[in-house]
Symmetry: D2
Subunit: 338 residues, 4 copies
């Protein structure tokens, strides 16, 4: 880190800051500039509360230099991580799988019809929520374990791998039992205890970016999972909260580029939540592939007008088929496949 | 809700939308405007997925009219809710209590010294984290149950009520046993299962606003607690995520005014997290009282330069004493007391 | 518009609101819902200050229904507008032109070398600033009219059309004389008097989205130009201000989709300003084409390390050539050309 | 500045960065840390495009150390600047003046009635727009010079100083002739040419923060005025663009504290634009005084329901009177006067 002193900081104040740094077990390196002094700090300061120095007299601000994550950093692992959800759904390589399905598992019939449509469209895994985090307490909260069983039945028939959300530590075991990949949703992206619990089970984890998470915070959240021993983390850009009101969230595709730059973990794009409107999904899916995403997550419902949840952003089976076809062409244009 | 049709929507499309609404058990009321048609919907549409109509052909957008929360709405309860944490810390009335203390419980000695300073400053309750949600997995995560015991010991000596955070459902019982008020932090503000668990235990709950939560979403989060039978919810404005970079968060004091307008629940302001810099806390505390907040939450540490966590935003015991004195004067200027 | 009354609004308050609406020359249509009353307003309320009704007793809020722009709305002109900057740079059709060049015109030599590189890369127009809006008053502010002349000389040699920014009404004539297309920058996107002045001159106008502008506000800004008689407006997404800190701005590609949905005007994407980092530009250019943009604006400098301005986001001539080649492939994958 | 190299940067890359810095006329000071190298740069790098170094091979990022403004910096002038608009309206001292009046000058009668109400409420200057920047081109754009004359007539009768907005360079002279203080609105806060023009005329300038401006950018905008020779700049916090939807803007009161910390210029708070709702103005005015603002700007209209512009946020004369009374009490509680 770099401690920037105020222009009028005294010698005593600078000395005091140096003492505080030495107390932390780190080495100081003061630099007298043309207008003020900065104190560079040498050593791994990541486990310290660096901000504490801001409170010392004469300090203007503290600038971190080292990134606060390790296992998720690209420096740690030069090769990109490949996460295998199933034989046909391996994320992080040249092939770009599509994970599609309804927001919620509504019935055995609905999820089966959905799974067939996903298969027919040429997509590679089935998504669907059995445990649903709903903004409103009076909304449908999912069928729970029954929903997991319906998903498993759909897998049995179609061979599609299952990606489904887990909301609470107490459900991790059962979700891990039925699913091929656990999803941590945007509302739980900083629920660190849940992240740890998912880090202790063996299935891959699809971690959605929190609505207000920076890239660094997302990689630190991934670090919670990785540091528990589970290396199979897939990051997901799904839109952030901004002032824009024409979408539910602002899909920030540069996050894909930045995550590839900072980390070895694969990155999924979710243009359904990233826009909130079915009419925008195909454009943003093609944009995501152009941005070099490693997979797509798409909400599709056999009958969107009657979807129990997220109908506005769900596309039809026919629209999914066309989306996959057009995204495949874009994938080939960027030397990948779908 | 109001369904706004596109300017070129056909009669068939309008009829279809009306049918969908009738299917939902609601009544339609179409209005032919000068340029387009809107379909007003009569009935309680809160439990429906209103957005589903956006997917119907010819629909431009759907505008909700009814607010999506009930128990937290001011209409439901015209009198303001008073939440009693202890005899001296009742939130929602004329008196504005101050909840102060360190970010983390670091040791029995540190929390006891802190509690004495809180008492000496004239504050009314002690805060301190035993379970800590840390962005970085390698940071100090709190002493857990041992920390709760240290807090209880500080209460025994000083008589101050204890406000402390709970991070996971499995800890709710033990935190409820030791604390006088459970805090749900900003990262768990949309952890609905945790909210429900806190709604089932008897102690008051201080619910912090999520970094990217709208007022409506905050009141829906409160609704999760209220709907489980716990009426003692305190809302907390603690800063939101914006483009501003001179603070850790942007303290949005108009949230206090809006929450008072929309809800009967009391509202705490947290200028420590709301700014992230000790030098700003007193100004923002006085501003919060000017904005008519119902309590203040202040981070104070006996030795901020050596705080294990959040040192940059922790003020000293002396600064707390001065803050309470000056805030008391502002409180009196707005016909309240401290 | 729809006036939403409070749940406890009295009959007198509702009557008063109706009177205010009638005073505006509009017709009222009250609807008694299950919990509250809304008053729908029929007639063109766009020239009224609709918000004024919020101040009437008993009103909770006012919801606009009609969009506040007309000439830029898709309803007004079902066919997409084609803006011709030059024979090879026509924006809004199947072909996707690339506008490239340095941030600033630094010298006659530099802009000539740049123009040749732009031509060699297969791009279609030359950009470069002669008048520069700089955040810092002590930074280079551009060569002004001399810079325009250097741009014209580069056009003479290469045949590339010139796109360059205008900062003040007093410069509109001279910029219009030399340039083939006037650019209004993000900082002046709500400088309505400048917009009007550009609406009165004959050259096309490339209007960049303000950093904090909604889609509706951008279309209203375009309306200032259109309503002065200039139909040749090109809209430009160049990133918005959000909490993200890994880019200079957050490129919001869904804006392209929304602008195509709401308007007939063509939309350019600027991944250089939209990210601020050269290493991200190619990914975001390909994403923009995948999102169906109508043109690309790219900052390229013959020697980025020595660029006077915006060096961090300028790519090299070689990188531009590769960018155009790869974007051409994506364009073909979405049935367009480059 | 500090140039942070990548962990795997080569010696050659570090040498090249050092050369680039030396070319800029600055001195380098490399520091070999535990995991990577940083190159500290000594000398005044403010006039350089520091970001250019980001493009050099092996560079991860560039961290500025020196603030990019000088004349507005507190270091430059330790005493706070006092800006005198009139004898009774001096901003920056212990007294907190109130600038009040309607959004627009609608008629000679309306502004006269307004001025009397402003006087009766105990406020200290009259605001009102003769040139109006309207989002919508079809909205009322102000009476122009006629409006200025109406304001002058109101001053003649009441003795109140006049604060009014200027939109274009060509109007600066005439506005400067009639007004006691020129206002630059949020939409023109980065219209640098207008800032310069206001810096060359003799009247004080009230500079509103742009909706997406950081504190540093606001101080750089002020620097444009100061560097032209006009020392009388008043900064204004009027709300920023965020995801919040319960207000028109998010009033960020910590901006007052930060501006006082970084600059010697006085700071006005505008709770009217900062919220957009009349019902919130008094709370946010009291909060602003609690936050130690140096003046208040309040929209008041003699008949808000019939205001031509911004009716929703205009308070009545009676409400202004009560606001001033209550704010005066808060001012006294923070050892100031009103």
């Amino acid at each position: 880190m770099i401690v920037v002193m105020k222009a009028n900081a005294t010698e005593d104040q600078i000395s005091h800051v140096k003492e505080l740094i030495v107390e932390m077990g780190l080495t100081t390196h003061p630099i007298q500039g043309s207008e003020l002094t900065v104190v560079a700090v040498i050593g791994d300061d990541r486990k310290k509360d660096r901000n504490v120095l801001e409170n010392a007299a004469g300090v203007d601000r503290v600038v971190p230099i080292l990134v606060p994550y390790k296992l998720s950093a690209r420096e740690t692992q030069p090769n990109r991580t490949l996460v295998r959800i199933s034989d046909e759904c391996v994320i992080g390589g040249k092939h770009i799988p599509v994970i599609a399905g309804p927001c919620s598992v509504e019935s055995a019939e609905q999820i089966l019809v959905s799974a067939r449509a996903v298969r027919a469209a040429g997509a590679h895994a089935l998504r669907g929520g059995a445990f649903k985090p709903r903004t409103n307490p009076y909304s449908f909260q999912g069928h729970g374990v029954d929903g997991l069983k319906m998903l498993a039945a759909a897998r049995d028939e179609t061979g599609l791998a299952i990606v489904t959300e887990v909301l609470a530590i107490e459900d991790v075991d059962v979700v891990s039992e039925y699913a091929d990949c656990l999803q941590i949703g945007t509302r739980n992206a900083a629920n660190y205890r849940l992240l740890e619990a998912c880090g202790k089970q063996p299935k891959p984890v699809l971690l959605k970016r929190g609505m207000a998470m920076t890239i660094s915070e997302l990689l630190q959240a991934a670090e919670y999972i990785l540091s528990m021993g589970n290396p199979n983390v897939i990051l997901c850009e799904r839109g952030i909260r901004t002032f824009e009101d024409h979408t539910r969230n602002t899909l920030s595709l540069s996050a894909i580029t930045e995550l590839h730059y900072r980390s070895h973990l694969p990155v999924v794009s979710d243009p359904s939540h990233g826009t909130g409107h079915a009419r925008m999904v195909a454009d943003m899916a093609r944009a995501s592939v152009g941005a070099n995403c490693d997979a797509l997550a798409i909400e599709m419902h056999p009958d969107p007008e009657h979807a129990w949840t997220d109908g506005a952003q769900s596309i039809t089976p026919q629209a999914l088929l066309e989306l996959v076809d057009s995204c495949r062409r874009v994938a080939e244009a960027v030397d990948r496949s779908m």
